[in-house]
Symmetry: C2
Subunit: 175 residues, 2 copies
DNA sequence: TATATTTGTAAGTGATTACTCACTGAATTA
DNA sequence: TAATTCAGTGAGTAATCACTTACAAATATA
């Protein structure tokens, strides 16, 4: 990975997250990355290839984040860590662009990517089962849906307090 | 409102909901509406004007839908009607394009439009207060967030069963 | 050191973009 | 009836789009 290739990825991630995929022109990316426009096509083939590279890199990071939850065996800890993740993934400036891009792309391309969340959903289902909940699968689904709703608000509504609501949600489960 | 102006609005609503605002060209809209491209600019000034007209028309319809809930005084009925709306607004083929556009536009333009939901949130807060809930405002916020999460799934994840989850959510409140 | 490969650039390409302009024909108004 | 407004068209516009190509410089390999 050369220096300029890395710069292109960073610039594209930021611009895609800000403006969306199709509305962001390759010339704008090149300018922001301080490289010639042609270099983008040398390294990534076409615009779609650039997006793919960004998403692929992000998925690696997501897997690492999820691993901590999926490998946990204590059910109450699984749920606690899930809420911890929810408020963290949304609050760390570092990865903000990446997560925002995930949702933006979802709506622009109209694909949900269920498989990414599957291990998380399974871990939660199992945790609720151990805790004796009547419908553990639906409980898990509901939590993930809450996460989508929170993300929607966090990224689109300024001055939205996530922490307050995550805490409130967490307290609804007697743990 | 002439016949052709109406056709432009309908075609634009459909295309914006399908492809997004910026990726939909005015020439494509004109073709779908079977009018000359110039007519779009005659009636709406520019592309943004066309979007504004669509959103404005939709807001009127939303107000009517919300009115039934906001005017209800019986707290349990307020919540029941809210869940009824949630599964309905998401399932009626008729208005599907409009609601889908609402979310697409939110992510494309990064504006949430909190004011639209305010009367609904107030009605829910009041209902939870009457029912003796400890934190009625947060309960109301949570319900609206659930709605956003459900919409995300419904429009982006094929084969997603809304009704099942709405019922499950509803049953969580002892009514 | 000589040769090949990779990394990078500048200047293009045709297609498409939002939008304008000069012009009709029909309906309204004076 | 004469003048004016309105709805609608089709052929333009400059700018921008994703992408290509020819070529130079740097780097790796022999």
């Amino acid at each position: 990975m050369t220096d300029k290739k890395e710069k292109i990825l960073q610039a594209a991630l930021k611009l895609f997250a800000e403006e969306g995929f199709r509305p962001t022109s390759t010339s704008k990316i090149a300018k922001k990355a301080c490289v010639s426009e042609g270099l983008i096509f040398r390294h990534f083939g076409n615009k779609d290839g650039l997006l793919e590279a960004i998403i692929k890199e992000g998925e690696e990071q997501a897997k690492i984040l999820f691993a901590d939850i999926v490998l946990e065996t204590e059910p109450k800890e699984v749920i606690r860590k899930f809420f911890e993740l929810t408020s963290k993934f949304v609050n760390t400036k570092d990865r903000e662009d990446f997560w925002k891009l995930q949702y933006k792309i979802k709506w622009e391309m109209e694909i949900y990517g269920e498989h990414k969340m599957e291990p998380l959903q399974l871990a939660l289902t199992n945790a609720f089962k151990k805790l004796g909940y009547e419908k553990p699968e639906l409980e898990a689904k509901l939590l993930l849906i809450n996460m989508d709703g929170l993300a929607t608000r966090f990224y689109l509504q300024k001055n939205f307090d996530v922490t307050e609501l995550v805490e409130f949600m967490h307290n609804k489960y007697e743990l």
